[in-house]
């Protein structure tokens, strides 16, 4: 902004302020783009999966097949493989987590929507909070609070003097690092990805409108890179949805076994 004050119209690099979108309508904190996108996402997910699972046919139609494949992926590759015995009760949570994050992430590259809600840190915090609550609750329920906390603080099978070092690390891991890694990994990926797209597409746009012919000629490269990054972002978006679900499943699995 001060650049524009000094040298007229110049390139304004995208910043964190580009994530602070004004309310779409009215003047409420509940009518901003990410909030509306989150609600849109849960409506779309609900409609799609209810439609896909409604028939529950032995021989699935196309729609059921697609819905089932996604569900089976979460159920088998994430829940069953990682949690093992008794995994079935956690499938609805993991399935919700995966689809919710996936759809909201992919919104980041869908024309007109084009905003990943997970780049607003509040949503990843909420998801990490759910995950955090669930895996601690499981651990406490399974082993009792005393045994659970003792298992975390004092790793069994470790020489006594090592506790000086290990106990603080283990406590920090379970109570601080895990929720932070869950939420910040997702947030930072979506935030950075969106910023990257803004840089290339905003930059291309700026160059196209520059008075120099040289800049106009180069602007397609910036757009092209923006498009390439869009594909890359798609991959990252899917991957992050997978990772947060995977980590949650791992934490649940960790809380279920007696030995940490």
């Amino acid at each position: 902004m001060f650049v524009s004050a000094v040298a007229g119209p110049g390139f304004v690099p995208p910043s964190t302020n580009d994530f602070n979108l004004p309310p779409v309508f009215g003047n409420s904190a509940y009518s901003t783009k990410p909030v509306l996108l989150v609600f849109l996402s849960i409506i779309l997910i609900s409609i799609f999966f209810i439609a896909a699972s409604r028939k529950a046919a032995i021989v699935p139609g196309k729609l059921q097949f697609v819905g089932e494949s996604i569900y089976a992926f979460v159920r088998k590759d994430l829940a069953e493989e990682i949690i093992g015995h008794g995994f079935l009760q956690f499938v609805p949570f993991l399935f919700t987590l995966f689809t919710f994050v996936l759809v909201n992430n992919v919104f980041g590259i869908i024309p007109f929507l084009q905003f990943p809600a997970m780049s607003h840190v509040s949503f990843p915090y909420v998801l990490a909070g759910f995950s955090y609550f669930i895996f601690h609750a499981i651990g406490i329920k399974k082993q009792g609070i005393g045994k659970y906390l003792k298992g975390i603080a004092f790793l069994p099978g470790v020489p006594k003097f090592a506790y000086i070092l290990l106990t603080p690390i283990e406590i920090a891991t379970y109570f601080l690092i895990r929720p932070v890694t869950l939420s910040l990994r997702l947030f930072a990926n979506m935030f950075a990805g969106h910023l990257l797209l803004l840089v290339f597409i905003g930059g291309g746009n700026y160059m196209l409108h520059d008075s120099h012919l040289f800049m106009k000629i180069l602007s397609p490269f910036s757009f092209g890179f923006g498009i390439a990054m869009t594909f890359f972002e798609f991959m990252v978006q899917c991957l992050q949805a997978y990772i947060i679900t995977l980590l949650s499943a791992l934490f649940i699995a960790g809380a279920l076994v007696d030995e940490h």
Binding site: V35, I42, A56, F93, T96, F130
Partner: protein, 175 residues
């Protein structure tokens, strides 16, 4: 744009917004409830039905295979039975044939023997008859001839026959 920038520049992107936290909890909670109530049970139902269908198919196939094996076994047994029966029948037939042949042969031999003996006895009778008639004829002829040669009338019946008999006896002795 300027005013927004100035007003919100201080806020770090790591600081959550209360409204979004609330929305996040509600949205995620709602989605979780909807999916758990309407979606995951249906998918589980479909999976279970599929597993059952596949297992049912396997069981059915196993049952069919078992039945087929049983049928094969019974057919084999029946076949063996039939073979045994056939060979028994063949054996019997052979024995019967042999018996019939034996019977026929015996009958034929008996018949032949009967015919032979009948022929022999008739031949014997014929010969007897011939011998008797010859004896009478030869006697008469010889007497006639002798009487012609000797000229001696051998009219006397008794003498005549005594001479013939004596002649024949001599003839038989010289033989």
């Amino acid at each position: 744009m300027h005013s927004r920038f100035v007003a919100e520049a201080a806020q770090s992107p790591l600081v959550p917004k209360p409204a979004e936290l609330i929305v996040g909890v509600i949205a995620f909670g709602l989605l979780f409830l909807v999916l758990r109530k309407f979606v995951t049970p249906m998918f589980e139902k479909a999976f279970a039905a599929r597993t059952e269908a596949i297992q049912g198919g396997i069981e059915k196939a196993e049952r069919a295979q078992l039945e087929a094996a049983k049928a094969l076994e019974s057919y084999t047994a029946q076949l063996a039975d039939a073979r045994g029966e056939a060979s028994k029948i063949r054996e019997e037939a052979r024995a019967q044939g042999a018996a019939i042949i034996e019977d026929l042969r015996a009958q034929a031999q008996e018949e032949a023997a009967r015919i032979t003996s009948a022929a022999q006895s008739s031949i014997e009778a014929e010969r007897e008859k011939a011998v008797n008639s010859l004896r009478a004829e030869v006697g008469t002829l010889a007497v006639d001839l002798a009487s012609k040669i000797v000229g001696e009338a051998l009219e006397d019946q008794v003498r005549q026959s005594r001479i013939v008999d004596r002649f024949l006896e001599e003839l038989e002795k010289s033989k």
